[in-house]
């Protein structure tokens, strides 16, 4: 009987060992995956009710343009003033997105319907605006040399488990150029420096008291500023588990065109219209005179 009991014990021990081995085999992958947080869903920018100006701005807690109180150098304060004056006169000012150019960094982070797709190598931020997406590389690489200039820059990130609970909770990101430009923080033409040499440092994390609130604390280093400018942008998770993902293409609705140095509008019937009183029509020197 003892012999049979030993055989049973041996079989049981073997099965346990096999199960343990199987668990050990799958555990590292599971553990690695488990370290990344659940930021699934659709995130939309939080616009404080107290701010009457609903134009998207870099600091959502303040009105766009001068209301942002950006620490601009005198030179770039003038660029903003000129942009506002031009817009007051019907022009597009220093707002390249008015003509369907890219928003780039940091304006692309004001767009709605954001989605965070997290993989160990890359965190993708899919955007519901004309700027499509950001890739934040988290595979440990350094900034490559000889990058091509882009509006969004090149982003390298690092996941941090700040509270030591085994799950990452903060994504730290640095985004460098060379950038393309011009870029503006908002539709007033609040400018970034024309040297396109900005650097952005961001900390993405879920609010400690609200799992449906995502923070993106962005600090901008840019020569148009007298000091680094930090803003806490927040995004709320859409409660709908199957949200509508909007498709936005600037050209579908854009009715603004630039001919030479003059801004014009297209009427609903597609005809050219002035943007200001007594604006001269475009130069038509390349067309044969009407007979």
């Amino acid at each position: 009987m003892v012999g049979q009991g030993s055989r049973h014990a041996a079989i049981i021990a073997l099965v346990i060992a096999l199960v343990a081995a199987l668990a050990t085999w799958t555990a590292p992958a599971a553990a690695a995956d488990a370290k990344y947080p659940n930021w699934k869903g659709q995130w939309n920018p939080v616009l404080p009710a107290a701010v009457a100006d609903k134009r998207m701005s870099f600091d959502p807690g303040k009105p766009a343009g001068p209301g942002q109180q950006a620490p601009l150098t005198q030179e770039y304060q003038k660029v903003l003033n000129d942009s506002l004056a031009d817009q007051g006169n019907g022009g597009f000012g220093n707002d390249p997105t008015a003509l369907c150019y890219a928003g780039g960094m940091p304006r692309m982070m004001t767009y709605e319907a954001q989605e965070y797709v997290i993989t160990p190598e890359t965190t993708y931020i899919l955007l519901g605006g004309d700027d499509h997406l950001r890739r934040i590389i988290t595979d440990g690489r350094d900034f490559p040399k000889n990058l091509n200039a882009t509006y969004q820059g090149y982003s390298i990130g690092r996941w941090i488990d700040e509270d030591g609970d085994g799950t990452y909770d903060v994504l730290e990101v640095e985004t460098r150029g060379p950038f393309k430009g011009p870029r503006a923080y908002d539709s007033t033409g609040l400018p970034l420096h024309l040297d396109n040499d900005s650097t952005f440092k961001e900390r993405f994390f879920i609010d400690k008291t609200d799992p449906n609130l995502l923070h993106d604390v962005i600090t901008v280093f840019d020569r148009a500023l007298t000091r680094p400018w930090t803003v806490d942008k927040t995004f709320r998770r859409n409660a709908d588990p199957q949200p509508d993902w909007p498709e936005r293409y600037c050209h579908v609705t854009n009715n603004r065109i630039m001919l030479g140095n003059e801004a014009y509008l297209l009427s609903a019937d597609g005809l050219l219209m002035p943007t200001r009183k007594d604006q001269p029509p475009p130069d038509l020197q390349f067309f044969a005179p009407a007979r």
Binding site: H8, D33, C100, G260, F286
Partner: protein, 295 residues
């Protein structure tokens, strides 16, 4: 008694074993999830671009093995053959024809899958196809959902997919997707080869890696559209970039776009911003809203 005692001991050991198994399985709930996630192919990573048969076409045709435009031999209805002919005639005269992308409107399906660099990010709920052209991205939902009740039409359409383990090796190898609910106009290629203006196309796609070359991805695409006399199928192929990808390109149609449409006419914009005719003897734009006479 001995036999009973042995039975009790064996039962106790069996219970312990079951408990251990259950505990192990519970502890490795992440492991089960990982095992489930391991079913999704890890071999689709990287950067994919359309295979170009240069001797045949470089213009981004739907069927990569045939020349673009008429050479596609698309099974168009008579009505849409006329649309296509008119498009090509207009283009010959300097017009843009039935080719909305020329003015930076999105291509939409199926042309969305033609240009630029593609990346597949696969999660159990969604397969994302990230595009580097002017069209943004595709979400192929694989979470078992049904079609939405009131979908907003888009150029990219709404895609629902299903992963299949065809060879039974425990890993999915085929993604089947169906795409509906469109905006338009859309064209198959730059000649203006049209899709029906009712925008009721349906696309069925089978995505899979080539069995003999793991760096070739097939997207077997069948279009059902009222501009066609029958469903039209093309085996669209993409090659994986061999080099390590340091930087993904960023494409903006507006950069370098010299086409401007005013009223029903398209014009060219010179580098100095002056308007130029696109067609011989083209009339200038209607300036009725201006009070001053043109120069």
């Amino acid at each position: 008694m001995d036999r009973i005692a042995t039975g009790v001991v064996a039962l106790a050991r069996l219970s312990a074993l079951i408990a251990t198994l259950m505990a192990t399985l519970m502890l490795s709930a992440g492991g089960a999830r990982a095992a489930d996630e391991a079913k999704y192919p890890a071999t689709w990573k990287g950067q994919w671009t359309r295979v170009v048969h240069r001797e045949v076409e470089v213009q981004g045709a739907f069927d990569q093995t045939k020349p673009w435009g008429l050479g596609q031999q698309a099974p168009l209805t008579e009505e849409y053959q006329k649309v296509h002919r008119q498009s090509m005639e207009d283009q010959k005269n300097g017009g843009l024809g039935n080719y909305p992308t020329a003015r930076c409107l999105p291509s939409g399906m199926p042309r969305i899958m033609t240009f630029g660099y593609h990346e597949y990010v696969i999660t159990p709920e969604t397969t994302y196809i990230l595009l580097s052209g002017s069209d943004h991205l595709r979400r192929v939902f694989t979470d078992g959902r049904d079609w939405p009740k009131n979908p907003k039409p888009t150029y990219g359409g709404y895609s629902i997919g299903k992963w299949i383990d065809e060879d039974g090796d425990g890993t999915y190898d085929v993604l089947e997707a169906e795409t509906r609910y469109f905006k338009g106009p859309r064209a198959f290629d730059a000649s203006g080869l049209p899709l029906a203006f009712d925008n009721q196309s349906i696309f069925k796609e089978r995505f899979f890696i080539d069995r003999n070359d793991r760096n070739i991805l097939h997207v077997l695409t069948t279009v059902t559209d009222h501009a066609l006399t029958r469903p039209w199928t093309s085996d669209r192929q993409y090659r994986r970039t061999a080099e390590k990808v340091e930087q993904w390109p960023e494409t903006w149609c507006q950069e370098g776009n010299a086409n401007i449409v005013i009223g029903k006419e398209n014009y060219f914009l010179r580098a100095d911003g002056l308007l130029m005719p696109a067609k011989k003897n083209q009339a200038p734009p209607d300036l009725r809203y201006f009070t001053q006479a043109p120069k």
